[in-house]
């Protein structure tokens, strides 16, 4: 067995080169847009890129906004890895949030047990709710994309009805829950910021899922089923129980994600539409190629740019929406299979002829 020499055209290295180039291109396009629309493009651009580093509070903003993205990204990447294109995390974020809010509004326990219950209970229920599309898929081979999108609407409707009927704040003009109990909210852990224990939980979740995926028998079955379900079945793996388990874990992650988000940033539940955090999770998973560590990196990067754009929009005339150009370009280039393929083939050709 001979060791292959390091090559930029190798699998891992190629993906890295491709990603870095995608980022550079996305930033270049953003700069072009700035140059066309704003009076001082260079300094705006620099503000956007370095803004989050200028103040501890700004950097804290980056960390706090990446937490829900990490959880939904993990949940989605786990589903996608198994070959399940389920976008139900969006609905889970809503209904899980409603359940969390209900618990957060009740007075009981102390500052440890109250948030613990307010996170774990919605997580468990969310896991069970995710079993619905999982069961329909495993038992009847119902398309999980369709069922999960329909369930998103159902969860929004049911959640809104619950808030309006049982949890409506009487002292508040629009539809929202009463203020959460003080004991339920998560304390800030970095002075001068609103960063809570949530970021720690997110990192722990990433590590756990990573280990589960690459070191355990469950993870092995998930990977094989995702890569080739016929092969997994032929090998004797049980797709039905696997689909159910993956859906449960993914729903659980979603439940933790939405609870941590609510108990960290919000003082009452006020979502009257789907929050979009679940769908963003699908984007995170795609850009991270369904790798848990990748989800962490991507969520940080996207949050960083988002906060950077917000800082920039405060000091210039450029609207914060400019950041969607960066995100869109990144998603496009990273998920495009043929991007850089010609270059890679030429490079392989040269190397191939040298030492094959």
């Amino acid at each position: 067995m001979t060791k292959r020499k390091f090559s930029l055209a190798g699998d891992t290295a190629f993906e890295t080169v491709k990603t870095i180039l995608a980022i550079l291109i996305a930033l270049a396009i953003t700069f072009c847009v700035l140059a066309l629309t704003c009076e001082d493009p260079v300094s705006s651009f620099i503000t956007m890129l370095t803004g989050p580093l200028t103040k501890m509070r700004y950097f804290g903003n980056v960390l706090e906004s990446m937490v829900p993205l990490v959880f939904s990204g993990l949940a989605c990447s786990l589903l996608f890895r198994t070959g399940l294109f389920n976008l139900g995390i969006e609905g889970i974020y809503y209904i899980g949030g409603v359940i969390c809010s209900y618990i957060a509004c009740q007075a009981f326990g102390n500052s440890f047990t109250h948030p613990l219950v307010a996170i774990l209970v919605p997580a468990l229920i969310s896991g069970l709710l995710m079993l619905i599309p999982g069961y329909l898929k495993a038992k009847f081979n119902a398309n999980e994309l369709v069922t999960s999108l329909m369930l998103n609407s159902i969860y929004l409707g049911v959640g809104l009805w619950f808030i309006k009927t049982y949890l409506r704040a009487t002292d508040y003009s629009s539809t929202a829950s009463p203020l959460f109990e003080k004991s339920a909210t998560l304390p800030y852990i970095i002075p001068g910021t609103r960063v809570t224990i949530g970021i720690v939980l997110a990192v722990v979740a990433v590590l756990l899922i990573y280990i589960m995926l690459f070191k355990t028998r469950l993870g092995y079955q998930i990977r094989m089923t995702g890569l080739n379900p016929k092969f997994a079945r032929y090998s004797g793996m049980n797709a039905m129980s696997l689909f159910l388990l993956v859906h449960f874990i993914s729903g659980f992650l979603g439940g933790v994600g939405t609870s941590v988000e609510l108990l960290s940033i919000y003082s009452r539940f006020s979502w009257v539409a789907l929050p979009g955090l679940g769908f963003n999770g699908a984007l995170m998973a795609m850009m991270a190629r369904n790798n848990p560590i990748g989800v962490l990196v991507v969520a940080f990067g996207i949050s960083y740019l988002q906060i950077g754009a917000e800082i920039m929009s405060r000091s210039t005339t450029v609207p914060v929406e400019v950041i969607s150009i960066v995100t869109a370009t990144l998603v496009l280039l990273i998920s495009a299979q043929y991007f850089l393929r010609g270059w890679r083939e030429k490079k392989l050709l040269k190397e191939g002829l040298l030492h094959v």
Binding site: M1, T2, K3, R4, A9, D11, I211, K215, T216, R217, Y220, Q221, R223, M224, L227, N228, K230, F231, A232, R233, Y234, S235, G236, M237, N238, R341, R344, E345, K346, L348, L349, G352, L353, V356
Partner: protein
Amino acid sequence: MINHTQKPIQTQLELSVKGGIPLEDSILRLENITKVYSNGVVANKDISVDFRKGEIHSIVGENGAGKSTLMKILFGIEQPSAGKLYYRGEERAFHNSLEAIDAGIGMVHQHFMLIPSFTVAQSIVLGMEPRKGKLFLNKKAAVEKTRTIAEKYNFDIDVTKKISELSVGAKQKVEILKTLYRNAEVIILDEPTSVLTPQETEGLFEELEKFRKLGHTILFISHKLGEVKQISDRITIMRNGESCGTFENAEISMEELTARIIGRDLISSYDEKKKPWPEPTHVLSVEGLSLSHKGQAVLSDISLAVKRGEIFGIAGVQGNGQDELIRAIAGLSEHTAGKIVLNGHDISRMTIKKRRETGLAYVPEDRMSDGTAGEASLGDNIISTYFDRPALNGKLFMRGRKINAEARRLIQEYSIKAESPAQKIQSLSGGNIQKVVVAREQNTNPICMLAEQPTHGIDIGSAEFIHLRLIEMRNEGAGLLLVSADLDEVMSLSDRLIVMYDGKIAAYFPSTKELSRSELGYYMLGVKQQTPEEIGGALHD
């Protein structure tokens, strides 16, 4: 844009009838063709070869030697990474197969590209239909045109029949007629005999002779050397993506040809390798197995029993129920009636995992869709059927080091050409992938193994290696059920043999010693059928 003048095929014919084509006349020439796939596989390396007008030119080599890639380049499906292609003396680049077809190159693929619900005439004119005005198809003209062409080349085929009603041999005729309808001068045939019975093969060869006389150039891709020697004018040998030279058929012996393809001699018979097993009890018995799909009987009343220490062969043209039978035994599809007993346990309703735990192993026909996960590593693929084995696992975690060591051991033992267990399995050659599958299945120490087309489309060296492995399992007391469309394989390996035709057992032979290929061919084609008493031996012997 295509800018060349295409000679109508008629002038060609006149010329050839008068004997006007000099043999040395080159029609298609490749110069230093190199192809590297994006996954880094170098499929063709610096290949130069010259094809002449009016010759049958065989391209032989192990699978994975790069024959198919070279043909795809000729036919415009793949683009060469480097090198030049000359067609009638002009440098050309075919960007897609339409350009190649326009220029006069036709290809008959190994797997037919036909629409079952179309008639023969519709299939042949597809994409170049005669029209009434601009909008409407002229069905009558289509039928007439195809009939004329079929008559001109002496093809005995009813052009109004539906494709789904045709035999495999007839489907192949349709594919060939398709290329002729498009005025192909060069016809590429990719493993054309792999699906044919011996009788059908003879028929094909007669037709090819006819085309040669009419001035067509035939590129014949095959790994069956007997056929190559029989039909070719010249032979180009490929190995590891490189050309090992082009030879006049008359000037190269069978032995030399074999030696150049694989670099050494082959064992022609496995008889001396086989050892008897002391207690040949039944290890797998199938009783009255029937299966219907959408109301159509796919399998009817199949009964057979495999003993310990034997290879039980199933011969037959592909698609006569062999695949369904094996999948039913393996647990991948459900059967309608009947009983499957493995080592004394009724496994008919067991899950796949339970069947495997009872001692069943399975080498599936399609190694890429069932046998492996292409994107996964070699290491992941080689443990898939026993990944939960205690030796490879701790309480919570899988033990990566143990798994790697096991993979390395198997790589060595089965001489799999791979860089490391971390390599993606799809970057290996077909033969090496198949070795991984066989290594994995043998590694579970099964008492019964289903081997379905175990050497289909792989190189001779790997095929022989796998054959010896199967015999080794047999000698150690396992019972093997072998399905193969390759007569040489099924006849040289099997101890007992059945032929399947149309979902039924057509014949049973208690020994393969005095069996002739043509005898088998009659049963495979459904010309002959044994009595139920004779067939009963498959279960009761």
